[in-house]
Every structure is written in C-alpha cells, then in structure tokens.
Subunit: 156 residues, 2 copies
Amino acid sequence: MTTPVPDRLRLDQQICFSLNAASRAFGGVYRVLLKDLGLTYPQYLVMLVLWEHGELPVKKLGEHLRLDSGTLSPLLKRLEAAALVVRERSERDERSVRVRPTEAGTALRERAAEVPLRIAAATGFDLAEVQDLRARLDRLTAALDAFGPASAPAPS
Amino acid sequence: MTTPVPDRLRLDQQICFSLNAASRAFGGVYRVLLKDLGLTYPQYLVMLVLWEHGELPVKKLGEHLRLDSGTLSPLLKRLEAAALVVRERSERDERSVRVRPTEAGTALRERAAEVPLRIAAATGFDLAEVQDLRARLDRLTAALDAFGPASAPAPS
DNA sequence: CGAGATTAGATTGTGCACAACTTAATTGTG
DNA sequence: CACAATTAAGTTGTGCACAATCTAATCTCG
C-alpha cells in the first residue's frame, strides 16, 4: 500500500471537483426556481438567448451556448412540443433551421424575470463578487478551450 | 419586441452560465487526459476517493462526491465490469455494499498521477489562484445548498 | 456546368444527474 | 417479540452532453 502519490491527487484539492459541485448545486436551485415555468435549466438558457436575439438559426444558438446540434436538436424539439418556440427551415438556405419564440415563449419572459434575482439571493454573493468570479471562470474556460479540442500531445 | 426586462436577464451576466461553461470545458480536457486510462471524469472522481480511502460503502462514496445511488450504482457497475473495483455486501449490514479497488484499480493510480499536473497546466492558473477560486466555489456551493433542498419560499 | 469539399442539422449510442419508486435489511418502540 | 419506520442500494424514466455518423443543401473550382 501507500503508493508514493502526493497531495496533488487529493480530492479536496481538485478544483474541478469544486467546480463540478458548484455547477450541480446551481442546477438544483434552478430546478426549483424553474419548475413553475416548466423549464429545465438548459432550456432556460436557450430561452434567454432567444429573448435577447428574437430569432436565430440553430447554429448561432449553439455558438452562444457552446452546445452542438446533438444536444440542441432534441432540446428544441421539446421546447417546440411545449409551444414555446417554432422551428422553420430558412428559405435562403435550406440547410439552416431558424428558431424563434412563440407568443407564449415571449410571454414567459416576464414570469422568468425574477429568476436571476432569486438566484443572486441564493448565492449570497454581492454584485462585485459575482462579476469577479465570472471573470475568473471565463478566463479559465478560455484557457481550457485552448488546450482542449485537437491537442494533448503528451508533453512528457 | 423590447420587453421591459433589464440587463439582469442578459445571458452574459449570468454567473451560472459561466460556471456551466467552465465545468464543461473542464470535462473536455479531462476527457482527453483520461482517455488512455479508460475512465470518464466521474469514474475518475470515484477512483480518487477510493485511492484515498481504500474501501467505502456506496453511501460514503456518495457523500464524498455528493452523488446518490441512482448515479453511482450504474457507474460502479461499469467500473466493476472494467475490473477496477469490486463490490461486496457487507456482512455486518447486509444493506450496505462495500466498494474497493482491485489490484488493477490500485495500479491505475500511478498512471493517473500526472493528470492533475496536466490539468493544472491547462488551466494556466497558479496554485494561489486555484486555491482562491476553489474557496469561492465551495462557499458558493454551501450557500446554494442551504437554499436548495426543501426551500424556495419566494422571499418577495 | 459538375464532382468533391464543406456546412447545417438530425440521429444514434454511451454515460451522467436526478427524481421517484422498489426491495430488502435493520432499527426502534410498544 | 412484532410491527412500523428508517435506511442502503438498486431500478426506472427523463433530460442533458458529446462523439460519431448520416443526409441534404450549398459552395468551390477546375
């Protein structure tokens, strides 16, 4: 026993674990707050983008959310089944599918307006802390992305 | 258009989005690094706990990772199929199932030893930044947890 | 123009997260 | 002791994330 592996491997020092835990804890709070609206958290993110931009092809939606069609296609299908969005083939480019909120989808925006406030309250963070944390996380994401796709040539 | 909803709803100000994105970006890097080991990221976390503690009932494992049996049971079944762990009913309490790494599972620890280093390199963060970020995230998680299960009584 | 490359979206398959439920063992209390 | 309550795992069903693959439309260039 007692392999010569130092603290580096200790779970409680793994930032990824904290990140993962925080992300799931957020998910739990969102689940509660979004239940009334009939939305899951990823669906809510999609609606946020649509509320802001009005209408977008699936591709653009995916760029905003860093999600691919494998995730978005079924998710959008569920939102369409819930009558919150409509999807239609672009006439200019038959490959593209444009997604836009229905009237019900747009109306939902007002009911969702208090969600961010309640989330902010749940975090116990003030605005400055939130901004700061967000900046760090975005920097982290950028660094990881640079490493991620098509890399990892074993530096050793 | 232009519902009277302020910046609060703007996607790019939502910390949860940054958190989610960072978490998935981490997932991508881990996926690359763990591919050789034949582990997914959640499986790696389980192995970390087992490497540290040697043998644990599923319940304890879940407490360390904040995961329930609905997630752990099939995950452990896959780790067992990969011959990295064994599960056996406790004799003292037949309800409990104790999980422990096999010899192959223990051996894997050495091959995994460089993973944290490579992750650290990928983040571009120094140790102090990592510690700091982790502390903030853990505080955030604690706050969210306090809110989460059996709460949400609409403070307004 | 026309064949190959590229692009958008959908589909398939694997694995995780979690709620809700089931089963079986244990504990607590009268 | 008996029986209700609790507890540990497992199971089922839904939804998300992502790789790999497929189809159809568009683009590019000879």
